[in-house]
């Protein structure tokens, strides 16, 4: 099967800054894929390169098998991008904006689909309102609709929920999930790690232009060696274990172990001190821990 996105050895330098450093990965059709990294990691540069807004110094990118430089028409026809910056044309209404955008993709008589998009994004009653009169969240929804006018098989959202209220964030994600279930490949970048954790199957992490991790979400979560464990004890924590303690809550001691194997030693120490374990539970790692860990250069 042709990959939805095929990024091969892409590098891009802006003056002194190496924004992308030999990045390669593939996204398969139907995936829900997250691109994570701190500000300046190269996420937006990579998306711009996919969309033809930036030209890589070296390497190639294919969207549904179409090279974004040599076969740019087919590549762009296959790709819908929601840019990060909130931008709009102040001369136009919502419907005009979407009709013109359809036309740029060569589509006329697209109104049935545009109406459906307006409805799904809660914009039906704003169709004839000028873009200037919309709130930030509403403008963001129009940008999502604009990216979808040509029903692209691959949809890229560059931090679509930054600065957006909770309600919109949830309705937007349920709409994007619906698109994913309908077969669209979704790539998103986000600062909200819980979003990536909740929605995506596979995750790539970028740091200073380099790909530092590329794995399924579950593997990535399993990759952090540190484990937090909550213990309820019959008496105080022995002094020798104080160093491991993160905090105490609800009568439980939360210990951070450098790895799971260290639990054995902890239990032995407790036995020697005649402290009885009343309750023991592992605390699930979340993506944020893994992320922070990786960005500090711990793994890989």
């Amino acid at each position: 099967m042709v990959p939805a996105i095929d990024i091969s050895a892409v590098s891009r330098r802006f003056g002194q800054l190496l924004a992308l450093d030999n990045v390669s990965f593939r996204v398969e059709p139907g995936e829900f894929f997250a691109l994570l990294g701190p500000n300046g990691a190269g996420k937006t540069t990579l998306i711009s390169a996919m969309a033809g807004l930036t030209r890589p110094d070296s390497g190639t990118i294919r969207i549904m098998g179409h090279d974004v430089v040599s076969d740019y028409k087919a590549a762009r026809q296959s790709l819908g991008v929601v840019p990060q910056e909130l931008v709009f044309d102040p001369f136009l209404t919502v419907r005009e904006t979407l009709r013109f955008q359809s036309g740029y993709f060569g589509l006329t008589r697209n109104d049935a689909w545009l109406d459906e998009l307006l409805f799904k994004l809660g914009l039906s009653d704003k169709a004839d309102v000028n873009m200037r009169a919309l709130s930030g969240g509403m403008k963001r929804r129009v940008m999502v609709a604009q990216a979808l006018v040509h029903r692209p098989p691959v949809i890229v959202l560059d931090e679509p929920t930054a600065g957006v209220d909770v309600e919109l964030r949830q309705s937007l994600w349920s709409f994007v999930q619906e698109l994913n279930h309908a077969g669209h490949t979704i790539v998103l970048t986000t600062h909200y790690l819980e979003e990536a954790e909740a929605l995506c199957n596979r995750i790539a992490m970028l740091k200073k232009g380099r790909l530092v991790a590329l794995e399924t979400k579950d593997k990535l979560l399993a990759r952090s060696n540190e484990r937090d464990v909550a213990l309820k004890l019959s008496s105080d924590l022995p002094a020798s274990l104080e160093a491991l303690r993160l905090r105490q809550e609800d009568g439980r001691h939360i210990l951070r172990l450098p790895e799971l194997g260290a639990l054995e030693g902890v239990l032995a120490t407790l036995r020697q001190a005649s402290v009885e374990v009343r309750e023991l539970s592992m605390i699930e790692v979340d993506l944020e821990d893994v992320f922070v860990h990786m960005m500090q250069g711990g793994a890989n």
């Binding site: 802006f14 711009s48 969309a51 033809g52 807004l53 930036t54 030209r55 740019y72 028409k73 087919a74 762009r76 026809q77 790709l79 991008v81 840019p83 910056e85 931008v87 709009f88 044309d89 102040p90 001369f91 136009l92 005009e96 013109f100 955008q101 359809s102 036309g103 740029y104 993709f105 060569g106 589509l107 006329t108 604009q146 990216a147 040509h150």
Partner: protein, 251 residues
Amino acid sequence: MQGFLTLFRKELVRFWKVSFQTVAAPVLTALLYQLIFAHVLSKHVEAYPGVSYSAFLIPGLAMMSMAQNAFANSSSSLIQSKITGNIVFLLLPPLTALEFFAAYLLAAMVRGLAVGAGVLLVTSWFGLGLPTHPLWVLIFALLGSAVLGTLGVIAGIWAEKFDQLAAFQNFLIMPLTFLSGVFYSIHSLPGFWRAASHVNPVFYMIDGFRYGFFGQADISPWLSLGVVGASFILLSALALWLLHRGYKLRH
């Protein structure tokens, strides 16, 4: 093709929605020039035998207005899109460089022609009369708007700030259009300034346009056509090359 048509229509909608400012205002400005200069100079100057100064002035003003407005249309539309960032919605779709260029160019020409027609209409009682060679009038109206519309595309691509575009407009376009024989026949100029006028392409637009009305001008309309036509070909080749390379648009 559909992409081009859509962008062309969008560009028309853009200036038409503010036509008071983009069409009516320049027509009024030209009318004011006509009223003042015709009043002050009509008794003193006769540019060509049998042609009153009032009549002589009109084609010059019409062409100057066409040129300035064709330039303003493409350049201001592009710089606004670049500064507000909504140019991205034109860069994401599969539009070719030619489609992009042709849409901005034709919309600029339509605005230029609308303004030119407006100027001719409101100055019609100053005794211009019907053109002797309507085809020359049409050719120079189209080519003159096209050259400046193209220059507007180039300026709009190049400029990164309104400031830079204003500099382009005030230090290049304004002198070129004012010092082009709008208000006088260049035969009345001293030698240096007459020679200087001959390197100004806008001079040829105005002279050729005038020839169409009066059947006489400072130079042959064929020479004017050659210069204006060559300017258009060179500038559009440059504009297309810049768009094809993505100069200042795709980084």
